[in-house]
């Protein structure tokens, strides 16, 4: 008797429960990830690069992810090479820009000496430094290696000053000892220069002294006070100019320029100091008292009109003309011939750069009249000036900035720059300290520490993952950490809640529009229930009429009904079936539903409201003709829409249903109905064409079809031996309807948002003529297959589910040549949509394609046939169905929170899964 497997459903069930789809797919994904490690390595390289781009991130990266760097380095793809170059540049040159550049320019600056001192191994390290100085390329390497040590000490200004005094002594020691060898020049000059730049007292003194002396000489020579009485030639001795007349001369004397000059002359010492504070190799024209920054500048000055004028004037006046040789103002090392060599060395080395960026501006006759440097946006008329400009620091800096970032420009960090740099170092050191504390010790707060520890571990794992060959899926380089917010933020942070998309809201709003009203459901429930009970009475009467004695003998019904009990169990087991929304035929509240299910253990159920077979049998009376009735179709599937008036029942017969039997039932039913529901009036009519009868009342129609499993078994042997038997096709349809209902309850009811979408699609099929050829069964199959086939078993929100169905149809699933919809409830799973013509398929696809794009472009309301929803808040209030579900009953609440959890896990799952893609 086991009705359950009788409908051939078990077959379909096993076929469908093959959830291996997802598994297979996932396995495939893993394979893919392994298959493409090379890409990923490249990507990882890029990733590292990007991380290192900012200075501070570079720092952290270097500290935390040493391993990554090394690993990526071994990969050594060319892409990585730039990446690495960049890292180095950003990490080191960026931070230590000036120092590094200076270091490269002058092979040994105080930086090296300093490192060496800090290390405390003067001899060996000095040798190393010297070697480094010889090869600038290697030098960079050394510099990097020492960088941390350097920076650590450098960050402490106190230590710095104490050490500052030492280089001189060290240098002296080096001088005195015999080990003084080839590297002497560099080292020595480095040391002295360091001292010079330190601006220590001793150095100040020596510089001041020299400057003073020079100043004194200058004053003695020609910087006597301006003669009190001007001669015919109004000559100002201070400014070395002549004025046209007494008037202008007076004005000149009162002018600012003259006064400034005079003051400057008086404070000759200060001049010396400023001179010496500038470059080490200034040249001064003694005649004009003009300081030039280099040989070229000096030459230009000598050639220049101004100098010529002064010379002319002096010859006219018979004043002494000092020798053409420039006076060298070179700071404290002036007298030292060695220093001069060293200092003059770099000067001629400077090659003019950026010739290409200097435009020649020509006059109309093709003569070059001036030059325009496009990099510095300046003009000059003189070719010499152009030459000098191209060697000049400003131009070189511009060139470095705009053309070749590798160009080495001699940089003398000003006091301010140095301070900034110092500050930077200090901050870096602080940060390092902070991290060290965070990571290893000082458990100020145990939770806190744990969090950071976890986070670090997670990051390491992430980096590992990236290296192994997964693409970094995160836009900003850092992986999101699943451990939640840092502890101190946990209180204030709002929990990430899954929000409904606009599509979801529209679908749910439309759904609540098409969902039948409570009264409708109740009246349908009433008529169906009455019909069922009346049918049972009829069945009893028929059974009694055939076997009156046996019927009496079996008066006390056993509490455990063989068929009803499993049915009740099934009702308990499938929570979806108990959900009022998805099983609209169930009117009573869930609590009572639960209770009634329990009660059914003891007493036979009175109608088929659990959408399972309502068996008429009492014990094993095998001779009963009408064995039971079951709700089928939209009623049983819970797909009723607002305005639906037709519902279907199927009565299972023991034998082939005959016309005679049907007539008998039609005769017996009205009195039975009267007995069951005395206050309602129902009309019963025979409907032989549909192999059944109809019960009409309250504007509702119940179609009751008679069928028997024997109709199916007999297939081959039938041959129409009995003309009285009802139409076989209809009987088979009724059987199929039973199977479809079973299938639906097993497959679709439990599937997230599937029933909602099928209702929406039913509505679509009713509204849109293009969709009407799609049979209800084919549509249900389509929706279930499409929604259940999401890779990874992800649950789709209603909006996404609808879109996915549209995607499936749009991608030509139904077009001729498509795979077809296998019907799991038939032998050999034929195409459930085989009834569609090619043109209908075409039109369906066309419509779905347009619908898909409408959904993608936020016009889902057009697809749903509704008005666009205004704002989110209002919709929330309007969306009653969602709220109703939440409020009702314990079981519902459970399932609701379940789905909530699923959403969350889904979120994290995606987080971890995304790299695979």
């Amino acid at each position: 008797m086991a009705t359950n497997n009788y409908f051939g459903f078990t077959h379909g069930g096993t076929q469908y429960s093959a959830t291996a789809t997802g598994a297979a797919y996932q396995a495939g994904q893993a394979g893919y990830a392994v298959a493409a490690p090379a890409t990923a390595a490249a990507a990882a390289a890029t990733y590292g690069t990007q991380r290192a781009a900012g200075y501070d991130t570079a720092y952290q990266a270097a500290a935390a992810t040493q391993g990554t760097y090394a690993a990526v380095g071994t990969g050594a793809t060319p892409a990585y090479e730039y990446g690495y170059g960049q890292t180095a540049a950003a990490g080191y040159t960026g931070g230590y820009d000036q120092t590094a550049a200076a270091a490269a320019a002058k092979p040994a600056t105080y930086a090296t000496t300093y490192t060496q001192r800090a290390a405390g191994q003067p001899q060996a390290q000095a040798a190393a430094a010297a070697a480094a100085a010889a090869k600038p390329a290697q030098y960079t390497g050394t510099y990097q290696a020492n960088a941390t040590g350097y920076q650590a000490t450098y960050a402490q200004p106190a230590a710095q000053t104490t050490i500052a005094a030492q280089p001189t002594t060290q240098a002296k020691q080096a001088n005195s000892t015999t080990t003084y060898s080839g590297y002497d020049a560099a080292l020595y000059s480095a040391a002295t220069m360091y001292v010079a730049q330190q601006g220590g007292a001793a150095q100040q003194k020596s510089g001041g002294w020299q400057g003073y002396k020079k100043g004194g000489i200058g004053a003695k020579n020609m910087r006597t006070k301006a003669p009190p009485k001007p001669q015919q030639l109004h000559y100002c001795d201070v400014c070395k100019i002549s004025c046209a007349g007494p008037q202008t001369y007076r004005e000149h004397l009162e002018g600012q320029k003259h006064k400034k000059r005079e003051a400057a002359t008086k404070m000759a010492a200060s001049v010396a100091v400023t001179n010496q504070n500038r470059a080490g190799n200034s040249l001064r024209c003694q005649l004009c008292d003009v300081t030039c920054t280099g040989n070229d500048a000096y030459a230009a000055h000598i050639r220049g009109a101004k100098h010529q004028k002064v010379v002319l004037l002096h010859t006219k006046l018979g004043k002494p003309i000092p020798p053409q040789e420039p006076e060298i103002i070179g700071g404290p090392r002036n007298g030292d011939s060695k220093d001069d060599e060293v200092d003059e060395q770099p000067e001629p080395d400077i090659q003019p750069v950026g010739q290409d960026y200097i435009e020649e501006i020509k006059s109309d006759d093709g003569k070059v009249i001036s030059f325009n440097c496009k990099l510095c946006e300046c003009r000059f008329n003189d070719p010499n000036a152009k030459e000098m400009h191209m060697k000049g620091r400003r131009h070189r800096l511009q060139y470095k900035k705009k053309v070749n970032p590798d160009l080495v420009v001699d940089v003398k960090p000003s006091l301010r720059q140095r301070k900034i740099q110092e500050e930077k170092m200090r901050r870096a050191a602080l940060r390092e300290e902070f991290w060290a504390r965070r990571h290893y010790n000082m458990p100020e707060d145990e939770d806190d520490r744990m969090y950071w520890e976890d986070r670090r571990r997670y990051e390491e794992e992430y980096m590992e993952m990236c290296r192994r060959g997964n693409l970094g899926p995160y836009p900003r380089g850092r992986p999101p950490f699943p451990g939640g917010a840092p502890p101190y933020f946990q209180g204030g942070m709002p929990m990430a809640r899954r929000t409904e998309s606009s599509d979801d809201r529209h679908v749910m709003a439309r759904h609540s529009e098409i969902y039948p009203k409570e009264e409708e459901l109740q009246s349908i429930q009433r008529i169906v229930s009455h019909t069922e009970r009346a049918l049972k009475t009829v069945s009893d009467q028929l059974a009694e009429s055939t076997k009156p004695k046996e019927g009496q003998a079996q008066q006390p019904p056993t509490p455990q009904q063989p068929v009803a009990a499993p049915a009740a169990n099934a009702a308990n087991a499938t929570p979806a079936a108990a959900k009022p929304v998805e099983a609209p035929a169930v009117v009573p509240k869930p609590e009572s539903e639960n209770k009634s299910a329990e009660q059914q253990q003891q007493q036979p159920k009175e109608d088929g409201r659990d959408n399972q077979l309502f068996s008429f049998q009492q014990d094993r009376d095998a001779n009963r003709i009408l064995k039971g009735v079951m709700r089928v179709g939209h009623l049983a599937k819970g797909l009723l829409l607002r305005g639906d008036t037709n519902v279907e029942l199927v009565v299972l017969c023991a034998d082939k249903p005959t016309l005679a039997l049907l007539r008998k039932v039609v005769d017996l039913l009205p009195p039975a109905l009267k007995q069951v529901a005395p206050e309602n009036t129902y009309t019963v009519t025979i409907n032989a064409a549909e192999a059944g009868l109809t019960v009409v009342g309250d504007g509702l129609t119940v179609l009751v079809q008679l069928t028997s499993p024997i109709m199916r078994e007999q297939e081959a042997a039938s041959g129409g031996l009995d003309r009285d038997v009802l139409a076989r096709g209809k009987c088979l349809q009724a059987l199929a309807a039973l199977r479809h209902t079973k299938w639906f309850q097993a497959r679709a009811l439990g599937l997230h948002s599937c029933v909602v979408i099928i209702r929406i699609l039913r509505d679509l099929c009713q509204r849109v003529p293009t969709w009407s050829p799609l049979s209800s069964w084919a549509m249900e199959l389509l929706a279930e297959k499409v929604i259940s086939s999401v890779p990874g078993q992800v649950q789709l929100s209603p909006g996404d589910a609808l879109r996915r169905v549209m995607e499936a149809v749009a991608s030509g699933l139904l077009l001729p040549g498509g795979p077809g919809l296998g019907d799991p409830c038939e032998k050999d799973s034929p195409d459930a949509a085989s009834g569609l013509s090619a043109q209908q398929r075409e039109d369906l696809t066309c419509s779905a394609q347009y619908a898909l794009r409408l959904i993608a472009y936020r016009q889902i309301y057009k697809v749903l046939g509704m008005e666009p929803l205004p704002t989110q808040q209002k919709v929330f209030r309007r969306d009653r169905s969602a709220r109703k579900r939440r409020r009702s009953g314990g079981e519902q609440a459970d399932s609701e929170s379940d789905s909530g959890k699923m959403v969350k896990t889904e979120g994290t799952e995606t987080t971890t899964e995304t790299p695979v893609k």
Partner: protein, 393 residues
């Protein structure tokens, strides 16, 4: 507790302790893809015979492949220019207008996906220095000179006279048979320093760098010849159907690779299946807003390649594919491949075996309505943001 959402937008990544106050949950979803869920849709009716279709695809591929003479012509030119540039990398000599870091071939010639009649090979030159216009000019002149001296001994026929032009991408050297584009870019860390007044456009420079990554990715992942065949077919289709214009060669590469290789077995699909799958994927909205699309494997950030198209372009691209898919399923492959008829099938009604295939309308509305719910607006904006971010990086 998935903090910061899947995309990691927001403050999360910016350092310590800046919780994202605005949590966006935007999960792009992969569209329906029959190849990935075939087990749910077992074939219940016999598959139509597709030998003729496959033959037509292969024939079209042969037609589209460059001829031997074309290949020789372009290879000759490429080899010469590569030689000259390699010399400049190794021994720049007196040439100091710019320093060359690396020279690489990219593009369809390198990938082997060239289409006949489009004899352009691409070479990317990475400069160590910054790419000023003058530097490019100087490089062009230098290459010109070196080529001249290289070809001194050759007998140069009239068609082989080289013409040199300089544009905002670099240098173009062509003769009447072939053309080589030398595209200039600079090292990655120099990109930030670019000044639009003096240097070549930053976006172009980045695109050239990307081209190198693309060709490397292609070498490693897409060497399967089916992919190349499919790319060639798609390139041809792109030129013939207006709606596909916005698809870039890189998108086509990835799309072809996806269609052929992205299936549960990870084995290359047959060309006819893959060809149809391209249209199925596009029809299912692979390149529509809200779709996960295809993630660019050559960008560190997860960038969906179709976001490079405007929303309207995405719509038109999708609807063209949808119409063509229907034509294809009714047996109109010859028209799609360009063996028969013309491209009007994408825009006009056509009849196949009594089935009327009608074109589709655009779904995109301009300007989009704002009242539709702000969240989705954000989605769209986010897409825009994303693409912009990548361009900047």
């Amino acid at each position: 507790m998935a903090r910061g959402g899947i995309r990691g937008r927001g403050g999360m990544n910016r350092g310590i302790g800046r919780p994202p106050y605005k949590v966006k949950m935007f999960l792009p979803r992969h569209p329906f893809d029959l190849a990935l869920c075939e087990s749910s849709f077992p074939r219940v009716k016999p598959a139509p015979d597709e030998t003729a279709f496959t033959q037509a695809l292969l024939k079209r591929n042969v037609d589209l492949s460059p001829t031997a003479s074309e290949q020789t012509a372009i290879l000759n030119l490429v080899t010469k220019i590569q030689t000259v540039l390699d010399n400049l990398v190794v021994a720049p000599g007196a040439f100091d207008a710019c320093q060359l870091e690396e020279v690489r071939q990219v593009g369809s010639f390198k990938k082997g996906t060239m289409v006949t009649g489009h004899n352009v090979a691409d070479i990317v030159v990475i400069l160590k220095t910054l790419p000023t216009r003058e530097a490019v000019e100087a490089l062009g002149n230098k290459v010109k000179e070196d080529l001249k001296s290289l070809m001194k001994s050759e007998v140069v026929t009239k068609g082989e006279q080289l013409t040199h032009t300089t544009n905002e991408r670099g240098i173009e050297i062509s003769n009447s048979f072939a053309c080589v584009r030398v595209m200039v870019t600079t090292l990655h860390h120099n990109i930030r320093k670019l000044d639009p007044e003096i240097h070549l456009d930053q976006k172009i420079m980045l695109s050239h760098l990307a081209a190198i990554r693309h060709s490397r990715w292609f070498e490693e992942n897409a060497h399967h010849s089916s992919i190349k065949v499919l790319i060639r077919l798609l390139r041809d289709i792109r030129t013939r159907f207006e709606g596909f214009e916005p698809l870039t060669p890189w998108m086509l590469d990835l799309l072809a690779h996806f269609a052929i290789m992205h299936n549960p077995s990870r084995q290359a699909l047959p060309i006819n299946v893959a060809f149809r799958r391209v249209f199925q994927l596009l029809s299912a909205g692979l390149f529509l807003p809200g779709s996960a699309g295809i993630t660019d494997p050559c960008e560190g950030v997860s960038l969906r390649i179709h976001t490079a198209m405007t929303l309207e372009q995405q719509d038109i691209c999708c609807l063209t594919a949808q119409t063509l898919l229907r034509v294809l399923s009714h047996g109109g492959y010859k028209h799609i491949l360009g063996l028969e008829g013309n491209a009007s099938i994408a825009k006009e009604m056509s009849v196949w075996d009594g089935v009327v295939v009608s074109p589709l309308d655009k779904a995109y509305e301009n300007p989009p309505e704002k009242k539709d719910g702000e969240e989705e607006d954000e989605d769209m904006e986010a897409e825009g943001d994303e693409s912009m971010e990548t361009i900047e990086n």
